[in-house]
Amino acid sequence: MKKIINDVSQVEQEMIQGLVKAHPQYLRRVTDSDVLARAQKKTGKVALISGGGSGHEPAHAGYVGYGMLDAAVPGAVFTSPTPDQVYAGIKDIATDKGVLMVVKNYTGDVMNFEMAADMARDEGIEVEEVVVNDDVAVDGSLYTVGRRGIAGTVFVHKIAGAKAEAGGSLQDVKAVAEKVIANVRSMSMAISPCTVPAAGKPGFEIGADEMEIGIGIHGEPGVRKDTMKNADAIVDELLEKILSDLDYKGSDVAVMINGCGATPLMELYIVNNHVSDVLKNKGINVYKTYVGEFMTSLEMEGFSITLLKLDNETKELLDAQADTPAFKQL
């Protein structure tokens, strides 16, 4: 394992410190915790908190700021943060309009955030939760833990964050977050694994001519190994899964082409070239496209496609100003 780090046991701490030193105008570390909150606490609005394991940067600390989150709670790499950390975040940002937790659907994340919510509710803080589950690669049936939350989460941050900034009530903000969740689907693939620093070796092995289809964001193997295909064929496969899960026909969509950490931006644009064509051919109107690294898995090479079906409300909120370290919109 060759990484630009000092000590595997300190990667999360040094990252948090590096984040605050880089973005003091945006970020503040909540005392005695790992939580990153807005430099200036904003009152009079619903407060949004999200988080999860580290290793997904810029998620989630990169989305703390005007129009998006109020705090992000980073756990150890790929390990959901503990309830006391989440609780420290909730307590710091809580306003009398309440707190919305945006949780990605992983057993650990859900359990830790819910334990924290219980602790906060015991102190009279109003806390609501939404669980993002956009990954169509995995079975969403009742008999499983359901679909995972991946890059689509960033749209939830953006749109629910804008609603909160606009003065929406906790129920309003939660409702629009749930609307986004109901209308967003994603799917990923990877051509190389990643190495959790503390683990010291890659999460999976992959041949020189193989790819993993339907990977999550934790360096875990995908739902299927396949021989490597060209970009257009991969896009076709991912899009087919997404489009057969939700009917996007005739609607306006926001597209996110997300790099997993080591994918050249050039390749993401090559991916977008075909995504855009396919959507057009299928009568789906691309309203806005985001291409870049939004929800990564350390140095994994691969990408995900996210499609969000928009209505007038979500369009307006998506277009609203945002000013955070990793997501700015004028």
Partner: protein, 207 residues
């Protein structure tokens, strides 16, 4: 009878056993999860080990609760809330006790399983730690009823847990990260079932 000192002693053994198995547990998680189970568990039990001196003299209920809280606040992931709640619930059933007997052991196990199920909402056969815990509990309960002594009861528990781990190789995961793999999870043993077995074996070897 097992007193508080013995419990602390056992906790140290568990911490050592988890530490020895850190890589093994992480490797198991790499195959069907996210490559961190051993790392997380070791972080938690190292914290527990650090706290052992400060727990000297406390009742067993408080000790177990503290272990639970340590795990909840250091492990993270799924294992943190699951094991953490298990230890906290276990602590509750032996609250204020300075000594526990064989039946208490069985109650502790039962309460722990209750904690895991409260948090994780899983049942047997979903390829989780429960597939080692529940058979171990059942074997220990039967052994206790049959009048075995503590060492033999624990040995039977470990055996059942080991069989449970073997069983997890044969089934598809429907809870936890391994569930995302569908069919690909078959053939691999569950990391959480394995870590539970490591813990129970450490306890058993203390008698």
């Amino acid at each position: 009878m097992t007193d508080s000192d013995k419990v602390l002693n056992i906790l140290q053994k568990i911490a050592d056993a988890i530490h020895e198995n850190e890589q093994f547990l992480t490797d198991l998680d790499a195959a069907i999860g996210d490559n961190d189970h051993g790392i997380n568990m070791d972080k938690g039990f190292q914290k527990v080990a650090t706290d052992i001196p400060s727990l000297s003299g406390k009742d067993i209920g408080s000790i177990l609760k503290r272990v639970g809280m340590d795990l909840v606040s250091t492990v993270g992931g799924s294992a943190g809330p699951l094991y953490g709640t298990a230890f906290m619930k276990a602590g509750a059933v032996v609250a204020d006790k300075n000594e526990i007997d064989q039946e208490d052991f069985v109650s502790i196990m039962e309460a722990g399983i209750g904690g895991v199920q409260l948090r994780g909402k899983a049942v047997k056969g979903e390829k989780t730690m429960l597939d080692a815990m529940i058979p171990a509990f059942e074997a220990m309960k039967a052994s206790c009823t049959a009048g075995d002594d503590t060492p033999s009861m624990l040995k039977k528990g470990v055996e059942a847990a080991e069989n449970g781990v073997e069983y997890t190789k044969t089934i598809i995961a429907t809870k936890g990260r391994a569930s995302y793999l569908g069919e690909r999870s078959i053939g691999h043993q569950d990391p959480g079932a394995t870590s539970f077995t490591v813990i129970l074996r450490a306890i058993s070897e203390s008698y």
